[in-house]
């Protein structure tokens, strides 16, 4: 019998309607190397925590929802950072593709195994890429890491030509200004195949989790991003 690799997941959301096209089974995976100040899932940071499962277990769960996801939906691997468990992720992607399931990864483009990343992108139909910042200084400030890994990832992306959704969280006082939006607009011109760019208004709903996990909340005092202003930025971004 084939031995399936094991990995750690946080949970499975069976009806994801916003993380990719149509109905998605969203697999929240454990582990992330970034420590983004606005992260609302700090409970997924550690790699070897929560549920230990095999790749086959997960794909068996996904297959149960075939009547829902075969209508243009599929699976979305999210997290945490799904690329952190590269081998495990790759195996799940392959199994999904074999079963005819549309695959998507919701990623920050970091934490991956450089030897495997090309294969991962080969078995991924859609990449939802979270852009943290577009320059080194701010990237470091928000994520606590330098931008090298991210930059390598976007080069890989361009060569594989995956379909792409881009996301950017808009945080008051950090990037909630028109100047930044215009820079962002320039920045994303480097990508082909962009189907959608979404600005996500920052919210404080993750705050309780930090308290529970006794982790210091870096954005203490910053309020929720105003949704109307965020929509206005979205319009600027979408305008030709």
């Amino acid at each position: 019998m084939k031995k399936f690799s094991e990995g750690y997941i946080h949970s499975i959301e069976t009806m994801g309607l916003v993380d990719g096209p149509n109905i998605r089974i969203v697999v929240f995976m454990q582990g992330c190397s970034l420590r983004c100040s606005f992260c609302h899932n700090p409970d997924t940071w550690e790699k070897n925590k929560n549920k230990k499962v095999t790749s086959k277990d997960i794909v068996d769960v996904i297959r149960k929802y075939r009547p829902y996801i075969e209508l243009g939906g599929g699976v979305t691997f999210s997290g945490g950072e799904p690329l952190v468990q590269s081998q495990f992720l790759l195996e799940m992607l392959k199994l999904c593709k074999k079963a005819g399931i549309h695959t998507c990864i919701d990623t920050s483009g970091t934490g991956y195994d450089l030897n495997i990343i090309d294969d991962i992108l080969k078995y991924t139909d859609l990449v939802i890429l979270d852009i943290k910042a577009i320059d080194d200084t701010n990237y470091k400030k928000i994520t606590g890491q330098n931008m090298n890994m991210f930059n390598t990832f976007i080069e890989k992306l361009k060569s594989h030509n995956n379909k792409l959704w881009l996301r950017q969280v808009i945080i008051p006082t950090i990037n909630d200004n028109e100047e930044y939006i215009l820079k962002l607009k320039e920045y994303i011109k480097q990508f082909n195949n962009v189907e959608k760019v979404e600005l996500l208004p920052y919210h404080t709903m993750g705050y309780e989790k930090y308290k529970k996990l006794k982790i210091k909340y870096k954005l203490e005092g910053i309020e929720d991003m105003d949704k109307d202003i965020c929509n206005k930025f979205q319009d600027i971004l979408n305008a030709d």
Binding site: S11, I12, E13, T14, M15, G16, L17, V18, N22, I23, I25, V26, F28, K64, Y65, P67, Y68, I69, L71, G72, G73
Partner: protein, 741 residues
Amino acid sequence: MKEWEDFKGSTWKDKIDVNKFIVDNYKEYIDDDKFLKGISKKTEKVWNKCKKLLARESISGVLDVETFTMSGIDNFEPGYIDKSNEVIFGLQTDEPLKRIVNPYGGFRMVDKALEAYGYHMDKDLEVKFKEYRKTHNDAVFDAYTDEIKLARHNHLITGLPDSYGRGRIIGDYRRLALYGADFLIEKKKEDLNKLKNITDISVIQLREDVSEQIKALKLIKKMAQRYGFDVSHPATCAKEAIQWTYFAYLAAAKQNNGAATSIGRNTTFFDIYIERDIEKGILTEEEAQELIDQYVIKLRLIRHLRTPEYNELFAGDPTWVTESIGGMLNNEKSLVTKTSYRILNSLNNIGESAEPNLTILWSKKLPENFKKYATKISIKTHALQFENDDLMRPIYGNDYAISCCVSALSLGHQTQFFGARINLPKVLLYALNGGRDEITGDVVIENIEPLEGEYLNIQDVIKQFDKVLTKTIKIYVDALNIIHYMHDKYAYESSQMAFIDTKPEYLMAFGLAGLSIIVDSISALQYGHVRVKRDDKGLTSTFDIEQDFPRYGNNINEVDSLASNIVKRVYRELKKYPLYKNAIPTLSILTITSNVVYGKHTGATPDGRKKGVPFAPGANPTQGADKSGALASLSSVAKIPYANCCMDGISNTFSIIPNALGNDEDTRINNLTNILDGYFGSGAHHLNVNVIDKEMLIDAMNNKDKYPNLTIRVSGYAVKFNNLTREQQEEVISRTFHEKV
């Protein structure tokens, strides 16, 4: 015949066959909603008057009661809302919203209702009626066994239609429009003449019934005459087709007060007449919409006189004027027409409302445009329910309609004996408590040994449960056989049966309540280390859960199969008994809003549910137990078998917050459409959909005036949120609302 000019086909002309007429003549519509028109001036005037009356009614609960005459097809003077602006005519009594006294089901209910709302029956009439006329209720209690009375008194079997009209019958009201009363009378006379061989009581009974049906048809002619219409001949145009059909239904609502009196499946039928008139140039789109809007208004005004206890069971004054829309003719062609859109558009034109109970018969193969329009209206109004046409059509044929909430009936060829439901969690508690009721201590089921000890052996429990269940079902079947025999004898629905074949197929609709509680309880006893505590009478009082256990609603086969096994077990048992009029047993998993009252009368259960806490509605997982996401919850319910088992329907209510469904309207419509395709594609039967914010409901609960028309789907019907009791509102809010993690 000039009424049938331009209509195709011939076989439907000689014998009654509305379905064949539809198949031969309807035009499927696959385009979008752009042709629809807004509200007409006339409709606006009529509806404004209604709104004022409805506002007055909502203050007092009842606007008026006719106390000088009793129910009957032609016992009331004609009534109008705003005569010069009405285009469809006819009210139950001489005034809108004035309710009828119907004592044939039982006078006790009438007395209680009149007393509750401060009315008095005309003394002379009351005294005479009570002196000379026996009611259904009197007769049933003459025949009830002690076992039935005890099971009923202890709420083991509840909601039985033994003191009010049983309802659930759907006449094929379209027959009046297509054929006219004279043709129908002629056909019934032919049937009567064939019943010459008096071999047994059933033939005598049928001869009497058919004679009653003929009398009813004659009375319907007279009733219509009061409004200036001659329904002896077929309808000649769209306006008449809708008017005739409505008159046929109205006769039912004047004669009977059945809990649920649904109107069938009329839009495709109407559409044939509308299209003919539009082609002839005698009807415009505005006028077509006006006819449908005013038809809908009339259906919104149907009322019955109920007691406060009844309202506690079925909240919000529901009448279940269920109108079934859409569905497929066969694997290729749908029955969607422009009028399927027009009736949904009425919710735009005259606002959302609980009635009529608009039901979309969903198939994966419905025209995409129609799917999108139906989901759009559902998201906007929370007033629609969806049922799986692909599941029902092979069993009931393409021309069936939904009665009440989820019960399919082949129109004109089948009828139903409504049977309420067994309280399943009580069956389990009786198994633990030696057949005694956990609250009253009465021995309801004899010869059951109580199970002892702090921890129970699951095999012992299941053995004992099976014993109690077998005995309960026997009592239940006896009760329904008695009830329906007596109902036929003392409160026969001649006006409805006149529009049904003389020898129809009968379905006896049994039901179960508390499915999620029983499944979780068995799972708890099996996996959860449940410690039983008993009171000083030795009855179970609390159950401490010492270890977490898997629950129904998370798409776990080991648990979900418990649900399937129980319903299959019940159905197998039901099939062992001969039923009145050789009825075929069917089974539903449906509670309507009575899940609150069922819970109130039921002690603590082994799943950890406390005494008095509401059950989940219908086949829903227990409130908050479905923690694995919406699709897991839906998938668990979808596994309950419909064909050859729960053919009376499996009700599920699904609530989701708008933002979880998508960020904009198009995405929401698309996602809801996909959810329905997926849910029904996996074999599920029914879904109520509420796309609504929980916070909004909490706000509405605390600020009644802010949301006067807020309508939500409960279990099998829609209800004005304000008309629910506080307890029911809290239960609705406690249900799982699917949100994004």
